[in-house]
């Protein structure tokens, strides 16, 4: 019997699969399609201090092997999330990770504090990497000093484990990982979307009203795998890997590269059953490639690389 269980700070996961923030709302719609108890965890849509209405439409566009989005962190605000959305999710035996966004360090801290006090979530994910809002945290995701500072201040305020979601839109992902590790992060989520743009030839204008958006989907998987692999060499923090996962094979790649769990994002848009299909298929795939359990697969590729480099 292949075990899918995996442990992360604050999270005992029955399997390593969770829907990524922003692609799953607050779970209600997907709960009409399948039992959310099947998931390893749920990562809810970003919470900000006040309600946000997001960017102008169109907010989504199709690209080769992917999708651009510029939703703009639309959400009803942390208070409504705590009072109306989290109680719904708490009926399931599935850990909930809350994605936290803000414009200032004070806002991150206030949102994190409110979520921590709710008692309805098991971990926080600091979103310092959304590319779609001018003051939505991306400046924190590009500046290691700010990233460390926001991490440290949130950690001082909350008891929950804090994962920091890193942006790929940086010259040195390892430097960012080390910075938030120094700030006290318990883990990393990586990666967020890559900033992109697509032009509509008939109108000669960008397809998105916001002009640029975040590129996701299979197109970004090699970038994500490379970044997880690099960071794993230089940081001891556990990693929740994401970026273009749409099949169990993709999950195994992320595990071998060094992720301890994964989040499935855009694939849910294409196929709302993507997460459960992957969970069903994963044991067979682990067995096929000689792994007895998920824990054994984590970082398997790194160990081989280390052996080669020492010889």
């Amino acid at each position: 019997m292949i075990s899918l269980e995996t442990k992360l700070p604050g999270l005992d996961l029955k399997n390593p699969i969770m829907p990524a923030s922003g692609c799953f709302g607050f779970g209600r719609e997907f709960s009409e399609l399948y039992d959310l108890n099947k998931l390893g965890a749920v990562v809810i849509k970003a919470a900000t201090l006040n309600p946000r209405y997001g960017n102008q439409t169109p907010r989504v566009a199709e690209t080769a092997a992917g999708m651009l989005n510029s939703i703009g962190l639309q959400n009803p605000g942390v208070e409504t999330i705590c009072s109306e959305e989290l109680p719904f999710l708490s009926q399931f035996k599935t850990p909930v990770i809350a994605n936290v966004a803000g414009s200032t360090i004070e806002e991150y801290v206030a949102v994190a504090k409110r979520l921590d006090e709710s008692g309805l979530i098991q971990a926080l994910e600091l979103n310092i990497s959304c590319p779609n809002v001018k003051e939505g945290g991306v400046q924190f995701g590009k500046d290691p000093v700010l990233a460390a500072e926001v991490t440290a201040q949130v950690k001082e305020t909350v008891a929950l484990p804090v994962y920091v979601k890193l942006s790929p839109n940086t010259a040195d992902i390892v430097q960012m990982a080390k910075a938030v590790e120094a700030g006290g992060a318990d883990g990393l989520s990586m990666i967020n979307t890559l900033t992109g743009m697509q032009i509509d030839l008939s109108s000669k204008k960008p397809l998105l009203a916001n002009q640029t958006g975040g590129l996701s989907g299979p197109a970004i998987k090699p970038v994500a795998i490379r970044m997880v692999y690099e960071v794993r060499q230089h940081s001891g923090l556990p990693i929740i890997g994401m970026g273009g996962i749409s099949a169990a094979e993709d999950v195994l790649e992320f595990l071998i590269a060094g992720a301890s769990a994964v989040a499935v994002g855009t694939a849910n848009i294409h196929d709302p059953f993507a997460c459960v299909n992957i969970i069903d298929r994963l044991p067979q795939l682990l067995e096929k490639y000689g792994f007895q359990n998920v824990e054994e697969a984590i970082g398997g590729g790194n160990r081989n690389e280390a052996n080669v480099s020492r010889s």
Partner: protein, 258 residues
């Protein structure tokens, strides 16, 4: 809502770049579910794999028959709809259905309904008109197309009641826009129902301000089930947005700002 495979029963070009597709269920026991589909709801259709066409295509339901078969009509406007148009009889299509909130037909008791459709917004109005006509409502239709070879379903709407066709260039029916008919005609109706491009909906709702009516709004969609917040429209109350895929695509005419 469910995810299921539909079987293509027939695929016919009925106007320029316009395909009528008959879809059957892969299970007999879903037939009663299809009978419950509300006019204005849509199918969210997967047209390829994630590495070619990531986004599903929302396509309105043009008709449902007594056997539980579904008719959709779509325009070939890009790669996805082109791929869909090439599906032949016997092909299987992955669809989420029924999606969205349709016209509130069960709560309406109307003597006369005015249907105002434009282009590929015409199909859902057929299922609506057929449903209302079966309940004894008088149907008046104003349907706008770009030009003669874009016109479809003129006979089917004529069977429902009075039907006026307009084309932008006058190559078929009256020349002009659907709103020109509203200006020229003194139409008595209880409720209007409109579906079409946003500029047309804006013109219609401006023209019929204060009248009881419903509009069906188009927008590029993501998940189609209300989770991703890609397709939203501002609420007219000024507080927040409505999700087109879940709260709509049908809204009361005074509910949203176009």
């Amino acid at each position: 809502m469910m995810q299921t495979e539909l079987i293509v029963l027939a695929n016919e070009k009925i106007a320029d770049q316009t395909i009528e597709m008959q879809l059957g269920l892969n299970s007999d026991n879903l037939g009663t579910e299809v009978q419950k589909f509300v006019p204005g709801q849509f199918l969210h259709v997967k047209v390829g794999e994630a590495d070619t066409t990531m986004l599903r295509r929302p396509i309105s339901i043009a008709d449902v028959d007594g056997n539980g078969n579904i008719t959709i009509i779509f325009k070939i406007s890009g790669r996805g709809t082109d791929m869909l148009s090439k599906q032949t009889a016997g092909s299987r299509i992955d669809a989420l259905l029924p999606c969205g909130t349709g016209y509130p037909v069960d709560n309406l008791n109307l003597d006369t309904a005015l249907l105002i459709g434009g282009g590929i917004g015409v199909p859902p109005l057929y299922y609506l008109g057929k449903t209302l006509a079966a309940r004894g409502t008088r149907i008046i239709s104003i349907l706008g197309f770009q030009k003669a070879d874009h016109v479809f379903y003129k006979e089917k709407f004529a069977e429902l009641g009075e039907s006026i066709i307009v084309t932008d260039d006058g190559s078929y029916g009256e020349k002009g826009f659907v709103t020109d008919c509203l200006k020229e005609m003194d139409i008595d109706f209880d409720c209007f129902f409109s579906c079409g491009p946003t500029p047309m909906l804006q013109a219609v709702t401006n023209k019929l301000t204060g009248r009881h009516g419903y509009i069906s709004v188009e927008q590029r969609m993501g998940c189609g089930i209300g989770a991703c917040y890609a397709c939203v429209v501002p609420a007219k109350s000024g507080t927040g947005f409505k999700k087109i895929c879940k709260d709509g695509p049908v809204f009361a005419a005074n509910e949203v700002s176009l």
